[in-house]
């Protein structure tokens, strides 16, 4: 039972020395990561299993977490992806018809530490002002293990220098919905199952390929279209992916999502930059410049496209900071969005993009 868990203490130390002490849950361990926050009020399980959170410690701004437990249906990958979980209040029990267990066991089984009972809003405001930064989260029942000075001294972490993609990507090709009407090659940089599910709903045979798959192997599958998935890390450092994408251009339509969108920018001469504290949540408004409609979207990105490549037009723009949220090149038959049209968690306003992709194929 969640209620009977051992009382752990926890310390969260940020790179600038900011220290918070609270109650620990999940695994008894210590982990480093880039501390980021997400403003969704539901969907903690989907977030926890979203591979794009690799290398990050995730803070939920909504204070009550774990109320409806965890279940098999809402997983975006097979394990917990962030290296730590920070919340204000942990529900001591889970009450939902689908619940198979609480957040505590879920994290514990995955070896990930959590902290609650701290002033999470203070942390959010700090990050908002100072920008995202590395942090270390330790859970323990011993004072020494929780000593902030010791933890700070161990905090060596450079998010942009680590290749998270090869870790997050599938090691061998997988096929979903074999025999489906339309064959899609999905290059997996850390794909959310939500994307695969949307393609399957549209009767696609989805080939999930390792991120290192050469263009020739992709082509050999004779897919009707290519989907470049989301994933963690800095898009600028993935030179191999840029090259592969360039090589794939022209044969068939390409749809890029999140990291996939950023990689497209790099592949064709555009660039990306790091946002101060990212866009993470399910309430961000995006303007579809072609239809004039606003969409409420799910976002999870720390980088954004700065200059879009020649030949592309900006199809989607963030209503608030005007950053590029989507681009397309009609000639090359490429569309891409910075945000998550597959939602999970979040609003379904942008599912139409999958339909657009289907039409292109």
């Amino acid at each position: 039972m969640e209620r009977e868990r051992q009382r752990l203490r926890a310390t969260l130390v940020l790179k600038d020395g900011t220290t918070l002490q609270g109650i620990g849950f999940g695994a008894k361990t210590e982990m480093v990561g880039e501390l980021v926050f997400n403003t969704s009020m539901t969907g903690y399980q989907e977030a926890l299993t979203d591979p794009s959170y690799g290398g990050q410690i995730l803070l939920m701004t909504y204070p009550l977490v774990g109320n409806y437990g965890t279940n098999a249906a809402d997983k975006e990958s097979d394990h917990v992806q962030p290296s730590g979980f920070v919340i204000r209040e942990l529900s001591p029990d889970a009450e939902h018809r689908q619940s198979e267990g609480g957040i505590h066991s879920f994290l514990k089984d995955n070896g990930v530490p959590g902290i609650y009972g701290i002033d999470t809003r203070m942390v959010v405001r700090h990050i908002r002002d100072k920008g995202v930064m590395p942090a270390i989260l330790a859970t323990s029942d011993s004072e020494a293990a929780l000593d902030p000075k010791r933890l700070l001294s161990k905090l060596e972490f450079d998010y942009s220098s680590i290749d998270f993609v090869s870790k997050a990507s599938t090691k061998k090709p997988l096929v979903f919905n074999k025999g489906g009407k339309t064959r899609v090659a999905l290059i997996d940089y850390g794909v959310k199952m939500g994307i695969v599910r949307e393609l399957m709903k549209r009767k696609c045979e989805v080939h999930v390929l390792p991120s290192s798959t050469p263009a020739s192997d992709v082509r050999a599958l004779e897919p009707s279209g290519i989907l470049l998935s989301n994933g963690p890390g800095d898009p600028a450092m993935l030179a191999g992916a840029h090259r592969t994408i360039r090589e794939l251009e022209g044969d068939m339509p390409i749809f890029g999502i999140c990291l996939g969108h950023q990689l497209l920018a790099h592949a064709f001469g555009g660039d990306t930059y790091k946002l101060k504290f990212g866009h993470r949540g399910s309430n961000h408004a995006v303007l579809d410049n072609r239809s004039g409609r606003t969409l409420i979207t799910t976002q999870n990105h720390g980088f954004a496209v700065g200059r879009i490549p020649k030949g592309f037009e900006t199809t989607h723009t963030s209503v608030n900071d005007k950053s590029v949220e989507g681009m397309a090149d009609e000639k090359r038959r490429i569309i891409s969005v910075q945000y998550h049209p597959e939602a999970s968690p979040g609003p379904h306003d942008s599912l139409y993009l999958f339909d657009e992709f289907m039409k292109m194929m």
């Binding site: 403003t39 909504y62 409806y68 209040e89 949540g281 004039g292």
Partner: protein, 1045 residues
């Protein structure tokens, strides 16, 4: 779409159950949003205690009755191009539809902006709505619209019980309910059909026990839409959402559940054709995950006001911009300066609890269900569930019965269910037991159970720093901790501070901290970072009035809001403290800073400690704020205005009697008693009839006119119980006298008489329930002079700085003083509107040390305040009036003559004598009123009424139809009322008398049949005279500021 130049906004009229201050709030936002665009606003509302009827809010203000006829006159005069129908609740929506259907809008070329007639009809007509849901593939509960009882019974047995009955186009579920069998169905359905504007009602399968969820949608005319807030009713289906404890956001839905309902809400808003805001309600069987659509409100609602305050997103403002053709992303979020296109993210939980008037209506069943009975609500904000719950509970300011037997309140639920749940856990009941009884989601029950566990530990363990912090984070107040640890509140406060445990304040910013907020508001929590750095500059705290309740309504919120405006004009910053989500005072831009907090000593004092203001204004928030004065002052706060000793003299009967004696002002003979023996002795010395009441009263709670030893004994038994050993006050009751009252402002030297008002009813009817006229019509100049003289003497003697309200009785040339209230009264907005001088503004200036200007407003017209009662909703309550206040809201009528003003005020209050096809009046008077029968009958006949009555009353009236007493033959009066023959009842009750008297039955059936029932002979006479005068000419309708010349 071209922007209109002039727009008509219809308000919601007097406060009634189901329609409260939230529509002043939404109306004000709408007016401001229109004016920003350079659009002229014509505003119509009969409720003077509204900010929207201030001349600064709208361009052309009409304080006139909300009827189709009056509105047509205004439309013809003002020629607006467009109409906004969605800002004034169901009242405005129904009126707009009536104007539309009768062709008046077309005739005058007025179009709807925002959600239009077609969409409104689609949402409100059950048949069309159900057809739309079928087309959209939205699940609905099986149901059938019926127009008569027989088809209702047939439909119900086809669908299967339990059945819910919903009349179409009514307010707050009036006339609806849940029934389990045919026997109960018939009477309810009959009522529902009568209540419905269209004579139709829906017979629907009841989803009792399912989870209930609400989605607040905004949608622009280009089809962009989003959810502002999703809310979960902690009370499952079966309890009206207005009667439920509500939490935002939903706590028990997974993201998949939430997105399913979100998709449905947006699809429905699109299908209906909403352009602005709407509210969609769902029921969800959380065992299966199946949901069903309950209804959609195609307008701003109480829920949207709650959603606005809970999220910081100004829905009414955005809906107005949408009505003008803006797209969502083109509208600015006034809190963060970013775009209004986004869905607010909360990083806290919000709990709303309704405030019920059962303390005022002890004979009414406390059961709550599908029909609204609550008058107001409180909202609280916390970072955990128990924190928000405890804060909300103490915001309610209710006095609980000494013992609560949980079994009586759990199911069917009563207003005390939440306390019954807490008590059940104290008694060791399990979550499963309580779930099976109440169907409340286990997650909530577990949190309440956890809260009770913390409570148990507070009572048992040693109070150290860790436990104190845990208790505070779970929302326990110092005074709760004190009573659990047998300590006192101040000792707990000192101990807590010695641990360094003081509240921090967090911001409501609509975005969970993602963006910086520019016009934030605050709530307290016990965490690390305090975001409320003390406001820089000269500043004053205004203490609000809490939830709307009988006796303390929107009038006080009106005064607090004006205090914020006045402070700004005087160069001070204003800090508002309040917990009522429905009001203008808690709008994010009313004051310089808003604290959304309970109004207890602890919560207010913490804010004073955080802000160190120059002073605190306590005289505007009714009894809630003034009751805090003494303790705040003792704790070091500076109270502005009348010193606390003056307040004490006014409220302490002994000290006040001494003062009156010293000043030579007559008082009705009076005494105090602390025991039954003392009371009987005092009564025999004074002589019956007497007025008895407990000390420190709010709106005459527990006040009664007593005429014998026996009645007095019974009263003492109940009253002492009520007032916790505080003495009982005994006054001589002065029969057949004129009651009058004065609202005045004093700067300590000059006393400005704002209004000398006269009650139309004789003394004995609570001043809050009386019809009041300004200027007085029956007092002599000499009497007026004396009244003014007394007012000045009392004000100076009490040291009044600011507002005072003094009540008098005039009997045969002698003027008796009844009481002095050293605070704003509920007539301040009425008087301010009547004389065109804002009394609150003068009062605030005086409190800040300024001298009153020389002003001498001239009244070239009459203003009458009338009232509305909640009897229709509170079945089981007698409607006769007495010293106990029972009205929920007020109307104002203005005219060049008293008759016109009086007629308008009553018309606005729903007493309609026009348009009856077969006008027949039933007269039944008590013996002392019988001499009025000839005059009354004469006037009724002149108006074309047929006259019915018992032989004893109408025997001498020519042409009258005598009918048997109830039960003595057929048809009796109740049957004639129910058959629709009798359309007006004039019944003056005899003294005493319970629920078995004929009078009671007559009054009840008139209420149920929705026909006017006048219970006071003066009211009746004056009304008939007024109508007679008016019959000859057109009703004179003007802008409020045009009456002065």
């Amino acid at each position: 779409m071209k922007k209109p130049k002039k727009v008509l906004v219809i308000g919601s009229g007097p406060i009634v159950i189901g329609q409260s201050a939230e529509f002043d709030y939404s109306g004000v936002q709408a007016c401001r949003a229109l004016k920003e665009e350079g659009i002229q606003v014509v505003l119509v509302n009969s409720n003077p205690a509204t900010i929207q009827t201030d001349k600064d809010t709208a361009d052309f203000v009409y304080i006139e009755p909300l009827t189709c006829g009056v509105l047509e006159k205004i439309i013809a005069r003002e020629k607006p191009e467009a109409l906004m129908a969605t800002m004034g609740g169901q009242t405005a929506l129904n009126l707009a539809m009536e104007l539309h259907r009768s062709g008046i809008l077309k005739k005058h070329d007025v179009r709807f902006i925002g959600t239009g007639a077609e969409a409104i009809d689609m949402a409100e007509s059950r048949e069309r709505f159900n057809a739309l849901m079928n087309r959209l593939g939205m699940p609905i509960l099986p149901g059938k619209v019926v127009n008569d009882i027989a088809s209702g019974v047939k439909a119900a047995s086809a669908i299967g019980y339990p059945i819910i009955v919903r009349p179409s186009f009514t307010l707050g579920g009036t006339g609806g309910g849940t029934v389990y069998n045919e026997a109960d169905l018939c009477p309810l359905l009959e009522l529902a059909l009568r209540m419905s504007m269209t004579g139709e009602a829906l017979i629907e399968k009841s989803a009792i026990g399912w989870g209930e969820f609400e989605y607040e949608v905004v949608r622009d005319s280009f089809g962009n839409s989003q959810i502002i807030c999703n809310m979960e009713n902690i009370d499952p289906m079966g309890v009206h959402t207005g009667e439920s404890i509500v939490i935002a956001p939903s706590q028990t839905l997974s993201d998949a559940d939430h997105q399913m309902l979100r998709d449905a809400a947006l699809k429905i808003a699109e299908g209906v054709g909403i352009e602005g805001g709407c509210n969609v309600q769902f029921a969800m069987n959380q065992e299966t995950g199946k949901f069903t659509v309950i209804e959609v409100n195609p307008r701003l609602s109480r829920s949207s006001a709650l959603a606005s305050k809970a999220t910081g997103y100004p829905i009414a403002r955005v809906a107005t911009k949408i009505a003008l053709g803006y797209r969502l992303h083109e509208i600015r979020n006034a809190i963060t300066g970013t775009s209004a296109a986004f869905e607010p993210a909360l990083d806290y939980v919000v709990i709303k609890i309704p405030r019920w008037p059962f303390d005022k209506f002890p004979k009414t069943s406390r059961e709550i269900g599908t029909q609204m009975k609550s008058t107001g609500e409180v909202m609280s904000i916390g970072r955990t569930f128990p924190e928000a719950l405890n804060k909300a509970l103490r915001s309610l300011e209710v006095k609980l019965p000494k013992e609560i037997n949980p079994e009586e309140h759990l199911f069917p639920p009563t207003d005390l269910r939440i306390y019954a749940l807490i008590e059940s856990f104290r008694r060791g009941k399990s979550v499963d037991e309580l779930h099976s009884k109440t169907k409340i989601h286990r997650w909530f029950l577990r949190r309440i159970s956890d809260m009770v566990e913390v409570e148990r530990r507070i009572g048992k363990e040693k109070m150290g720093k860790a436990l104190m912090l845990e208790a505070k984070r779970a929302g326990f107040s110092d005074s709760q901790i004190a009573s659990l640890t047998s300590s006192d509140e101040l000792a707990v406060r000192t101990l807590r501070k010695s641990f360094g445990i003081i509240p921090t304040y967090k911001i409501v910013d609509s975005c969970a901290g993602e963006f910086e907020a520019i016009t934030p508001y605050y709530y307290s929590v016990y965490e690390d970072e305090n975001e409320a750095k003390p406001l820089v500059g000269r500043k004053v705290i205004v203490i609000g009035s809490g939830p709307i309740r009988i006796g303390q309504g929107i009038e006080f919120d009106y005064c607090c809001t004006h205090a914020a405006f006045a402070l700004r004009e005087l160069g001070y910053k204003s800090i508002m403290v309040n917990n009522n989500p429905e009001t203008v005072s808690t709008d994010f831009d009313t004051s310089d800073r808003l604290y959304f907090e309970p109004l207890t000593f602890e919560d207010v004092m913490n804010i004073i400690d955080n802000e160190s203001p120059e002073g605190v204004i306590v005289q505007l928030g009714g009894q809630t704020s003034i009751n805090l004065a003494e303790r705040l002052e003792k704790a070091g706060a500076r109270i502005l205005g009348t010193p606390t000793d003056g307040i004490d003299i006014a409220e302490d009967r002994e000290r006040f009697r001494e003062l009156a004696n010293r000043l030579g002002i007559p008082q009705p003979q009076n005494d105090t008693a602390t025991s039954e023996a003392e009371a009987l002795e005092a009564a025999s010395a004074i002589g019956y009839p007497i007025v008895v009441r407990p000390s420190y009263v709010i709106a005459g709670r527990g006040m009664e006119i007593v005429r014998s030893d026996e009645e007095l004994r019974r009263y003492i038994h109940e009253a002492v119980d009520l007032s916790q050993k505080r003495p009982v006050l005994i006054d001589k009751y002065i029969d057949n006298a004129i009651e009058c009252e004065v609202d005045a402002v004093s700067d300590g030297e000059t006393v400005f008489i704002g209004g000398l008002m006269e009650h139309i009813e004789p003394a004995g009817v609570h001043s809050g329930d009386a019809n009041i006229v300004l200027p007085a019509i029956r007092l002599s100049d000499k009497e007026k002079k004396t009244l003014i003289d007394y007012t000045q003497k009392i004000s100076k003697a009490l040291g009044i700085i600011g507002l005072v309200n003094i009540q008098f009785v005039v009997k045969e040339g002698t003027i008796f003083i009844l009481e002095a209230n050293p605070r704003a009264s509920r007539t301040v907005p009425f008087v301010s509107k009547a004389i065109g001088v804002q009394l609150t503004k003068l009062a605030v200036a005086a409190m800040l040390g300024e001298k009153l200007p020389k002003i001498n407003p001239k009244l070239n017209h009459y203003a009458v305040k009338s009232v509305v009662f909640p009897f229709l909703k509170l079945i089981g309550t007698d409607i006769k009036l007495g010293p106990e206040m029972r009205s929920t809201g007020e109307t104002m009528g203005i005219g060049k003559t008293f008759e016109v003003a009086y007629y308008k005020a009553l018309l606005a209050a729903g007493i309609r004598l026009d348009g009856n096809l077969a006008p027949n009046a039933f007269i039944s008077l008590r013996d002392e009123d019988k001499p009025h029968v000839p005059e009354l009958s004469e006037n009724l006949k002149k108006l074309g009424f047929g006259i019915y009555g018992t032989l004893g009353t109408v025997g001498g009236v020519e042409g009258a139809i005598p009918i048997p007493k109830i039960g003595m033959g057929h048809p009796d009066v109740v049957e004639l009322i129910e058959s629709g023959t009798i359309t007006l009842v004039i019944n003056t009750p005899t003294k005493g008398g319970g629920a078995n008297t004929d009078g009671y039955k007559i009054r009840r059936s008139s209420i149920r049949s929705n026909i006017p029932c006048i219970t006071n002979i003066s009211t009746a006479n004056e009304l008939l005279k007024a109508v007679l005068t008016l019959k000859k000419k057109e009703l004179d309708i003007r802008r409020a500021d045009e009456y002065a010349h």
